[in-house]
Amino acid sequence: MLLYALRRLIYLVPVAFGVSLLVFALVHLAPGDPISAIVPPDAPKEVVDKLKEYYGFDQPLPVQYLRWLGVTLTGDLGTSIGTGRSVAAEVGSAFGNTIILAISATLFAFTLAVILGTSAAYAKSRIVDRLVTMISLIGVSVPHFWLAIVLVIIFAVELGVLPPMGMGPENSTGWTFDRAHLAHMVLPTIALSVIPLGVVTRTVRSTVKETLSMEFVTALQAKGMRDSRILFHVLKNAAPTCLAVMGLQAGNLIGGSILIETVFAWPGTGFLLNSAIFRRDLPILQGTTLVLAGFFMLLNLTVDIIQTMVDPRIKRG
């Protein structure tokens, strides 16, 4: 088992290299001089050249890549061109905020999805099944950033019961587990959870339905096992596939929260990315993308390994 995990980790190394190359290429193949984000366009040439030398923009690209890679591997992600703070610090705090939102959204979405999906699979009445199918269809079809705006309109603008943006009340930094902060979390959580809700509900419903039709369930019923106990076995059987899908969705949430964070001005990695793109703050852009991609890769790897452990049918090693 450990061998399998180690082998997967080693396989990750060339991919990680490719990812770093891609991230580097992305921001450097962009049109426009990165320097132009720092200095006004009419700056004297000597100043521009000096700054180029300072940031290393005058070296050939492969050299820039290797320098950047070397520095990054030590943990130093550079300094933000816009704020001057260390990129690692900025990304770190933003990442924490994104995680808070992601955790609450996944908890909400997955719990609801398992309940809905299982009920739909078990339901004798077609109405329940139809209803759940419709909910999951809406979940995957609705543009979540539009839903976010609609939620703001309804609850913040019209009803005025929930705050329209931000992570906490005015002049508060960081996040604490109090009423005001939770109020700020409600709308973004709902908006963020619709897509995972839709996808996972569909998966749970179809896997549980498939498991229910298997002969071992009939055998258990014939043995006289209680329904609640059978449910436990059914869920255990459906778990590997569902966990894999959940893992993927969780990963997508963290990497793809940018739209929701923009609507709510939630200070997470997505919001950071957004502002970095428009300020053309390359170090932040590279650092954030790298961290998010790296996290996504590790998450996928963990989900893979967990799935291998949980599903005895998959060959290991």
């Binding site: 180690l6 082998r7 080693i10 396989y11 090693g317």
Partner: protein, 344 residues
């Protein structure tokens, strides 16, 4: 492109139609830290067989003994790691011989799973016409050929040409598979468990059809099966395989009437019989089939053989001729060192 006439015989009746020498096929198993090949499945090891013109060579053995690998090697769906093949005097896949494509014109195969061996998207006619068309036969002649083939296997062309595989029963599908194998007018047909999946009554019909076709079309068969009774009914000579090696080879009467190898004897006596007077006197085969990844040293059967001795672990028994057949067992080789062997 030739016009798909039947290939002429060369070399006369004495020359074997197919001679395979020293065939070896190992499959790598990924393992270890970097996914490198650490182990191999030794599916077929140093196998030599010959098929005479017009005979039916039966190949028997348990699952996992390598029979299907041999089948695929003979038709070159798999490339052997080592070994040569000669088709009616022409070496295969060598500078002065015939190409693999030319081999395939003369050697064809019928697969076991009648459903998976037919493309569900094509009609029967399209499936049968595929090979001839691929070899350049014009459409009209191909249609004619399809009609001819269907009639030969006992299916009415008018009703079956436009049907799809899922509309046919298992027996009908196997007839189509056999028809497909005949499409290029081959000389040798390899039947890999071709009737194993059929109901007994259907199996009997298909077997009789195979016998008739053989005489009518001057065919040679290699018939692979785990069903000993069917092999006895159909074959002229029988080859018994165990874990990638031949353990016994000879005429069907000799193998079934006087089996020499312990494995063959155990196999044959394990057949259930309707006759209450037939009792089993042989020792049953003990243990589980060993792993082809790490076959036992020396004689591969020794771990399950009630007569195994020291020499069996040290020396691999060669396939040696006895009076009527060839056996790979130290007990039958004079002077081998086995206590039951005759003195040299």
């Amino acid at each position: 492109m030739d016009t798909l006439l039947p290939i002429q015989d060369r070399g006369g009746p004495a020359q074997p139609l197919l001679l395979a020498t020293g065939l070896r096929k190992h499959f790598p198993v990924a393992g270890g830290l970097l996914g490198r090949t650490t182990k191999v499945v030794r599916a077929v090891d140093d196998l030599t067989l010959s098929v005479a013109k017009g005979e039916t060579l039966g190949v028997v053995g348990e699952s996992g003994c390598g029979k299907s690998t041999v089948a695929r090697l003979l038709i070159r769906l798999l490339k052997p790691d080592k070994g040569t093949m000669v088709l009616d005097g022409d070496p295969v896949d060598e500078p002065h011989g015939i190409t693999v494509n030319e081999l395939r014109r003369q050697v064809q195969m019928v697969f076991q799973d009648s459903y998976a061996s037919l493309n569900p998207r094509l009609t029967i006619a399209e499936t049968l016409a595929f090979a001839p068309r691929a070899h350049g036969l014009p459409a009209a002649e191909a249609r004619e050929r399809v009609r001819d083939l269907l009639t030969k296997v006992g299916l009415d062309p008018a009703s079956y040409s436009t049907r799809y595989p899922h509309e046919l029963s298992g027996g009908q599908r196997q007839r189509v598979n056999i028809a497909r194998a005949l499409a290029l007018r081959p000389r040798l047909i390899i039947l890999d468990e071709a009737v194993s999946a059929l109901d007994k009554s259907v199996e009997a019909q298909v077997l009789n059809m195979l016998v008739d076709l053989k005489t009518e079309l001057d065919l040679t068969y290699v018939f692979i099966s785990h069903d000993l009774n069917v092999v006895q009914y159909l074959s002229d000579r029988v080859l018994v395989m165990y874990l990638g090696k031949i353990v016994e080879l000879g005429p069907v009467e000799a193998i079934y009437g006087n089996p020499q190898h312990p494995y063959t004897r155990a196999l044959l006596s394990a057949r259930p019989s309707m006759d209450p007077r037939k009792r089993t006197h042989e020792a049953p085969i003990q243990g589980d089939p060993p792993n082809p990844i790490d076959p036992p040293s020396g004689c591969r059967f020794r771990t399950r053989c009630p007569f195994a001795e020291d020499v069996c672990a040290r020396v691999e028994p060669p396939l040696a001729d006895t009076k009527f057949q060839a056996v790979a067992c130290h007990m039958r080789v004079a002077g081998s060192g086995h206590s039951k062997a005759m003195a040299a």
